[in-house]
Amino acid sequence: MPQNVVDPPLEDTKIIHKILSLRSSFPLFAWSVRDLSRYPLETILLFLSIVTLVAILGTALLLSQALSTTAGLLLKDSPSVVVRRVSPLGWSALPAEESIRLARSVPGVLHAGIRIWGTANSSEGPVTVFGFDGSNRFGGLTKSAPLPKRGEAVCGAGITTGENPDFLKLIGHNTLIFRIIDTLAAKTSMVAHDMVLVHPDDARQLLGIAEGHASDLIVDVFHETEAEAILPDLSRAFPWPVRMTTRKEAAGIYVSASARRSGIVYITIFPGMLALALIVIGVVKGQMVQSCNVGLFKALGWTTTNIFQMQLLKALVIGIPAVTAGMVVSYGLVFRPGSSWPGYLFFGWNDNPPPLFLNASGAFLVLIEMVVLIFLPYLAAALWPALRAAVSDPQDFLESK
């Protein structure tokens, strides 16, 4: 017949209990470490499983986050609308002054400018040549770049020059040799990776664009939502056929390409993660079997709190270094200078890849995701059986021994 449970009138027992709990932390910690060292194989296996799991998942999340950050950077500096002239043969140059004048005549257009750019070949492969005179822009990414004079070039981080590092030979409609006066900052390399900034006249000469003509026209509007609204007017303003791309469309193309590739990565790692999760669960369950002495511990004066503390310490002694190591590995895989596989996987760059970048909030977000996805379930798996055992009567455990 069950009896009513009563609380003791000794309120000070609770306070003493708390004090004891705090004072007992160090011997408990030492005991927890000693306990783990009794089962070195299981401990190491659990540690490695968590490191691998965190590294795999962290790499995927960091890549995704870094790509998102990079996309944001790219789109922030891109024009609202890009207008290109089309002809039966494909793209064709458009008259610069006339195009600007026509675009400005459209209500809602805040700014209109031209760009001169195209592709040429260097000794190491194709590059993007951009006519740069300071008035046009290629995002804020070229903000700190010096203005190249005729015969000079500013190169992106991915440009390699072959034998002579001070000069760059480019072959397009014509062949020109440029003296390299500067290199774009490494942080611009996701966008300006294979870019060469040259004087606009050199760009025209190299790309075969006639004097007074440009590759395309960029248009800015006051608000993002106006871009699509002005497209019909803008189209009608030009006497030749044009193809227009808004920032939103560019973002969609970029995101869908990244998402498709990211999806493949996630599908690939999912079975691996599942297998690793099973290993972690198996090892944690093994540890719980070792902790079947909980009933004896309680009979010897350990409280539920003590047992919980010990299991928590044991879980943290493995978990914190393992998650940290896993994060370091994943950060290294994604952001280590010279790490080529993210660029290859997501952008198809085969050599001299650009480094990926991550802002502080992005890094924090990934850390939180790792804690929620791996660390908390691991802690729960480690603590739940011990807590269940610790709140039970010790006699059941003693009888089962």
């Binding site: 069950p2 009896q3 009563v6 007992s24 408990l28 009979a299 010897l300 503390q309």
Partner: protein, 228 residues
């Protein structure tokens, strides 16, 4: 206030496989006071171990209550009964040592969560081992010990935390004459003005040596009576 431990009409029932209930202990009444050594004897299966486990806070009675200094400790919730068990040192009939641990680690175990410094913790453990002449076994794994040695380790573990109530179930079952004499002498020495020592034993030497048992109880058919 002087320590007292009281059983008030304590009964314990166990459910059989067929669903009926069997009484292990029936209406046990007893009062033990500080400084006393109590011996509980009875045949195998009489319920001695069960009574000790009730007194140690490992079981709850089905009826009645156990009070310590007037507090109904048997009716406290799990968390508070954890604290109550800190006052109790228990020697089980089977040593219940942890095989993976060394002798020293087994003895240290009750001290770990009590806020004792590591140095003090080791000192207390060595003292307890010395008391029962087994300090030379400190570094050995318990599996390599004889039954008698394991039993002494178990006793050392029970006294290491200097409990107010020492409860022992057949603590000399695996001892030779010298070992038995030593343990009875130590238990007698443990009877202090602030402690209660309770031993369940078949062994007549606990009464023959005459130093320990101030009071002698007999448990028969689940009922406890004091022998004069």
């Amino acid at each position: 206030m002087s320590l007292s431990l009281v059983c008030q009409n304590v009964s314990l029932y166990r459910r059989r496989a067929d669903g009926s209930e069997r009484a292990i202990l029936k209406h046990v009444d007893a009062t033990l006071n500080a400084g006393e050594g109590a011996m509980i004897s009875g045949k195998t299966g009489a319920g001695k171990s069960t009574l000790l486990q009730l007194l140690a806070g490992l079981l709850r009675p089905s009826q009645g209550q156990i009070t310590a200094n007037g507090q109904p400790v048997s009716r406290w919730n799990t968390v508070h009964r954890d604290i109550w068990r800190r006052q109790v040192g228990i020697v089980f009939q089977h040593p219940h040592l942890i095989d993976e641990f060394t002798v020293l680690e087994n003895v240290i175990l009750p001290l770990i969560p009590r806020g004792t410094s590591l140095t003090q913790l080791r000192e207390l453990a060595w003292q307890a081992l010395d008391t029962f002449g087994i300090s030379h076994l400190a570094k050995q794994k318990v599996l390599s010990l004889s039954g008698g040695e394991q039993q002494r380790v178990s006793i050392a573990r029970a006294i290491v935390s200097r409990p107010a109530i020492l409860i022992a179930d057949e603590p000399t079952a695996h001892q030779d004459d010298d070992g038995t004499a030593l343990i009875i002498e130590k238990f007698a020495g443990w009877k202090l003005p602030h402690t209660i020592v309770i031993v369940a034993a078949h062994d007549p030497r606990w009464t023959q040596y005459g130093k320990f048992a101030d009071r002698h109880f007999l448990l028969e058919n689940g009922r406890l009576r004091e022998l004069q």
